[in-house]
């Protein structure tokens, strides 16, 4: 598949995530939109990995060029899992204190 298709798909997913973060007030939905953006980036990394692999295959028959991007995706998933654990703990604590998950309640952090 042409690489542009994957870039456009990942861009659309990322932009939907951005719009979700900007327009929703529920902290959990905002968090899910961040996960969506992470996944768009992962998809793009895998697509670029396969693009470089296709280029390298034309010169060398048995090459592993492009494998680093897939390991990078693996580490992004590791970091995302850790981030979700801490983030959901923060949301639970916020709900316990304010009985709401509305991000506008966090305005008081400004002062």
């Amino acid at each position: 598949m042409p690489i542009q298709y994957y870039i456009f798909l990942a861009l659309a997913l990322f932009s939907i995530g951005v719009i979700g973060v900007l327009t929703r007030r529920n902290a959990i939905i905002v968090f899910m939109c961040i996960e969506l953006m992470l996944n768009a980036v992962n998809l793009l990394l895998v697509a670029f990995s396969k693009m470089h692999h296709a280029e390298a295959l034309t010169t060398v028959a048995d090459t592993t060029i492009g494998i680093d991007a897939q390991l990078f995706v693996f580490f992004i998933m590791v970091v995302a899992a850790a981030e979700v654990a801490v983030g959901l703990a923060i949301i639970v604590m916020m709900f316990r204190n304010t009985h709401s998950v509305d991000v506008h309640f966090l305005n008081r952090l400004k002062n």
Binding site: M1, P2, I3, Y5, Y6, I7, F8, L9, L11, L13, F14, S15, I16, I19, G20, L22, T23, R24, R25, I28, I29, F31, M32, C33, E35, L36, N39, N42, L43, V46, A47, F48, S49, K50, H53, A54, L57, T64, G66, I67, Q70, L71, F74, F75, M77, V78, V79, A80, A81, A82, E83, V84, A85, V86, L88, A89, V92, V101, D102, H104
Partner: protein, 167 residues
């Protein structure tokens, strides 16, 4: 139109519809379920590009563990009502405009990039996504980052327990 292209367009449409429904659903539980559908579509894309390890890890970690954690938190707080306070009409319009402009700028940028012309992502072929290849690389060249990620997990676990502790 080959079967690969049909699968590509079907999975892309599923991912985009799922992502839109995540943002548009009023009920948070529906949002979580649509996000699971999106993750399955993205896993399908990985399988299409023969990145089998990442496809399975994506399903197990994202669709399995993380989304169940989200569902658990939503049900723990009893948030599955539709009475969420909404942002004002102007703020929503501004958010959509900002996201749309962001996408338009990057799409036009990609469209006029000459270096990307004729480049293709290899689908159905190539063996770099197999578990054997990734494992060899991970445990030879990337051993130190792999071990450091275990420390990261430990600190995240301790952090989650400390933050969530009741006092």
């Amino acid at each position: 139109m080959s079967i690969t292209e049909i699968l590509f367009w079907f999975l892309s449409a599923l991912a985009l519809v799922g992502a839109l429904m995540v943002v548009l659903s009023r009920n948070p539980v529906h949002s979580v379920l649509w996000l699971v559908a999106t993750f399955f579509a993205i896993s399908g894309h990985y399988i299409l590009m023969n990145a089998q390890f990442l496809a399975i890890v994506n399903i197990i970690v994202y669709a399995g563990a993380i989304m169940v954690l989200f569902l658990f938190v939503i049900m723990l707080m009893n948030l599955n009502s539709e009475a969420e306070p909404r942002k004002s009409w102007m703020m929503q319009l501004a958010g959509v405009l900002a996201g749309g402009c962001f996408m338009m700028v990057l799409v036009s940028l990609v469209r006029q990039t000459a270096e990307l012309g004729g480049k293709t992502a290899l689908v159905k072929e190539g063996n770099i996504g197999l578990i054997k290849q990734l494992g060899m690389k991970l445990f030879s060249e990337y051993t130190v980052p792999f071990e450091i990620s275990s420390v990261l997990f430990l600190s995240a676990m301790v952090g989650a327990v400390v933050i969530g502790k009741k006092d």
